[in-house]
């Protein structure tokens, strides 16, 4: 494909989608290569279809791990013909999507801003590294990203949880019974419980409708209320006439010429198995933290014996995921409660942000970083096979069971920990010397370890949660085992970041603050790989804000012909 592209972008998810829109809007000619198939959310989203219409009532199977109706096409923890491995002693899970829009088609839409402490963690506690940017540097792009994506929430003036500029946020939906119940107990205990922030519209934007409070966001959203690039950034970018999208194009290398400049990428056409190439004045990798690292490490040449942009040796290192844990409880006072439509925005309305920064700064906690709670809206949600769990709780059968089901349905709530991991030397990915994918491209091997920092955080979460449950008069059902047993597996929360981190020093980082690789001036990275730390806040919003900021810089450099 020898066309005069200004940029070749690899990936169509949060980072790639934003990069494409920013560059195409500035009149640059953009080629986007997506490894997966074309996907049309307007035609392919099973809105409202009840679970009973799907095989096995829609439960997860090895074919569709998040359930039959999950938006993910041709993806999941395992993809036939595209293996990866965990090194011995490690267990890492890698969720990949092979579809236009990538994982944005099914994500939870939780969109929390990183705060001032999150960008300078080393300064605050001496662990990890600082980012080359501060919160104030990124704040304008957060406002712009929230405006274009559409995020509901409120400004609560909380420490390290920045407010958005006036008028940016959409009005959050009214809290439901379970959330109000938790909020009441939290207020009594001095714990904040405030409106969550999710990329779900509660007022229309352009041709995207406001949420109509039904049918799970994980299926995708054909009315465009729940943000995904396939109903927003990509159609907008295509409208400029400057974007060409090629799907089923599995990029495996960045081609660098003898002057050390990227001239394009090599890819496999997944439909034909043929090797192809695409060329441009710049290359932007947004293939996901794992896939981008794999592409760089597989791009070996005499000038780059350890892979492109890897003179620091940091490509693949500093792999992080969110710390996950969960506790569930049953609340006798919620039994037999009145019914009402509790679907809401099909996700968090309220959440608990981290509230102990002052105690932490005084050295009163045994973990240096923070976490937040996502509150399980498993109240009176649409019945699925999980109803069987209520029967197990009741322990009865016959007419008694039917009465018990009515009594207990809607009396369970769950508390989910989402915490920050500190990068460690034992967590990284590398090229597996023994395994290749079905096209012969070397694949990844993951190493992953939690440290005491994360385990102590989980222990704190458990004790705080028990306090909340006790104040609510609840009965703990699960999640109180030792932290090592309840902590999520690496990658399981699907927030993997850090493998091509940005920094101020070419010796210890892969890119500068604009995602521009130190080694190859016209090669940029705009996915989660550039994260220098992994705040407890879900990464997608920050990926998009940074992608926008980096793309502004890239466009400026292309305009000056300085690459």
């Amino acid at each position: 494909m020898r066309e005069p592209f200004d940029a070749v972008i690899v990936g169509s998810g949060a980072g790639g989608g934003m990069t494409a829109l920013v560059l195409a809007s500035k009149g640059l000619r953009v080629l986007m290569l997506e490894a997966g198939r074309h996907y049309d959310p307007y035609a392919e989203t099973p809105m409202f279809t009840p679970n009973r219409d799907a095989p096995l009532r829609g439960i997860g199977t090895p074919d569709k791990e998040f359930g039959y109706f999950d938006a993910t096409a041709d993806g999941g923890w395992e993809i036939p013909g595209e293996p990866y491995r965990s090194a011995s002693g490690s267990e890492f899970m890698w969720w990949r999507s092979r579809m236009l829009g990538g994982r944005t088609n099914h994500w939870a839409r939780n969109s929390f801003r990183m705060g001032p402490y999150d960008f300078k963690p080393h300064t605050r506690d001496g662990f990890g590294v600082d980012w080359p940017v501060s919160y104030d540097d990124v704040a304008p792009w957060y406002d712009k990203t929230e405006t274009i994506a559409g995020v509901y929430g409120s400004n609560d003036g909380l420490e390290n949880h920045p407010d958005s500029s006036p008028g940016v946020l959409h009005k959050p939906p009214a809290p439901r019974v379970g959330e109000l119940y938790i909020q009441a107990a939290c207020r009594d205990l001095g714990i904040p419980c405030v409106p969550a922030r999710r990329a779900v519209l509660t007022r229309p934007i352009d041709n995207r409708s406001a949420c109509f409070y039904a049918t799970g966001c994980g299926r995708g959203c054909s009315i465009g209320a729940a943000f995904q690039t396939t109903t927003s950034l990509l159609p907008m970018a295509l409208q400029t006439g400057n974007l060409t999208i090629v799907t089923d194009a599995m990029v495996y290398e960045v081609r660098v010429n003898d002057k050390g400049r990227a001239e394009g990428v090599g890819y496999v056409d997944r439909k034909t198995g043929k090797h192809e190439a695409a060329f441009g004045r710049s290359v932007v990798l947004a293939a996901s933290a794992g896939e981008t690292a794999r592409i760089l490490l597989n791009s070996k040449s005499p000038g780059f014996p350890n892979g492109v942009a890897n003179s620091s040796g940091q490509v693949g290192r500093n792999l992080m995921d969110t710390v996950g844990a969960a506790m569930r409880a049953q609340f006798p006072l919620l039994e037999n409660r009145p019914t009402y439509n509790e679907d809401g925005a099909m996700g968090l309305h309220l959440y608990i942000p981290f509230w102990l920064y002052k105690e932490q700064a005084r050295g009163e906690l045994d973990f240096p970083r923070s976490y937040h709670y996502e509150l399980g809206a498993d109240g009176r949600t649409e019945p699925d096979m999980g109803m069987g769990g209520i029967a197990g709780f009741a322990g009865s059968y016959g007419k008694q069971l039917k009465q018990d089901m009515r009594r207990y349905y809607g009396s369970f709530l769950s508390f989910v920990c989402r915490g920050e991991m500190i990068p460690n030397a034992g967590s990284y990915c590398e090229i597996d010397p023994d395994t290749k994918d079905k096209w012969g491209i070397p694949t990844l091997r993951f190493h992953f370890k939690w440290s005491e920092h994360e385990l102590n955080m989980v222990r704190h979460f458990q004790s705080a949660t028990k306090e909340i449950i006790e104040r609510m008069g609840g009965r703990l059902q699960s999640g109180d085992e030792p932290p090592k047993q309840v902590i999520s597996k690496g990658g399981e929360i699907i927030h993997e970041v850090g493998t091509t981190r940005m920094g101020d020093d070419p010796e210890t980082s892969v890119t500068n603050q604009y995602g521009q690789t130190w080694d190859v001036k016209n090669l940029f990275i705009t996915d989660g790989g550039v994260f220098a730390s992994k705040a407890h806040k879900n990464p997608t919003l920050t990926i998009m804000a940074l992608a926008w900021r980096s793309s502004d810089y890239l466009a400026e450099q292309l305009g000056k012909r300085s690459l």
Binding site: P46, G76, A174, M387, G398, M405
Partner: protein, 238 residues
């Protein structure tokens, strides 16, 4: 591994690989049974009163099924006699009452057949427990009452089920049958409460588009919550 219907066939090696993935994903609500369970089911050994279920055909729906027009691509495998026992057992677990009909009237037995006929490992594990479990129910009814389980009286059926229902009821030698009971109940309840009938019974009233803002809890629900909080000495959040 795609057959001419476009569905995927799952060989045993794939199934074993999936077991690892299933364990890794740690599904909630699924019992993790790490015994190896293949195509051979224990019911094949010894006398069979309910007949032998057909082998599952191994047809899976694959990683990119048509979500707009869902179909179950694999064939059902249970015998008529197994389905009769299944229906009777379903109705002992979820009988008719003043609010909703018995489970067998809304397709729950057919769902159990769909489940145990699926090619995936979790379902094949359940198959290896459920088919012998049904056989055990039948055997008990024959030995104790000289009738099939399906045609036994309510009281007789309850007597058989009581031996395996509840943790205290199950004697050690019936531990696997107690697990069969719990798993069967899990599936029957999930199947029942996902039907229109079950949803109406349980009182779920969502999955409908609303115009305007989400209204939040009804007045009745708020009054109830205020009462709950009052009992705990907590004010209702403003």
């Amino acid at each position: 591994m795609t057959d001419n219907n476009g569905s995927l066939r799952v060989d045993r090696r794939t199934t074993i690989k999936w077991l690892a993935a299933t364990m890794a994903a740690a599904y909630t609500g699924c019992s993790s049974d790490d015994r190896y369970l293949g195509d051979e089911i224990p019911a094949r050994n010894g006398a069979s009163r309910l007949g032998i279920a057909a082998d599952h055909d191994g047809i899976a729906y694959g990683g990119d099924p048509d979500r707009m027009n869902p179909v179950v691509p694999w064939a059902r495998t249970m015998t008529e006699a197994q389905l009769r026992t299944t229906a009777a057992f379903c109705d002992i677990i979820l009988p008719e009452d003043e609010r909703s009909p018995a489970a067998s009237t809304v397709g729950v037995p057919d769902f159990i057949d769909e489940w145990v006929s699926a090619p995936y490992l979790q379902q094949q594990q359940d198959r290896a427990s459920i088919l012998p479990g049904l056989e055990w129910l039948e055997q008990q009814a024959r030995e104790r009452f000289g009738s099939s389980f399906a045609s036994a009286t309510e009281q007789q059926k309850t007597e058989v089920v009581d031996a395996i229902a509840g943790s205290s009821a199950a004697r050690a030698e019936l531990a696997d049958k107690a697990e069969f009971f719990r798993r069967f109940r899990y599936l029957a309840v999930g199947a029942f409460y996902t039907t229109e009938t079950g949803i109406e019974d349980i009182g779920y009233i969502g999955n409908v588009p609303l115009s305007g803002e989400y209204p939040g809890p009804s007045e009745e629900a708020m009054t109830h919550l205020a009462g709950v909080l009052k009992r705990l000495g907590l004010p209702l959040p403003a």
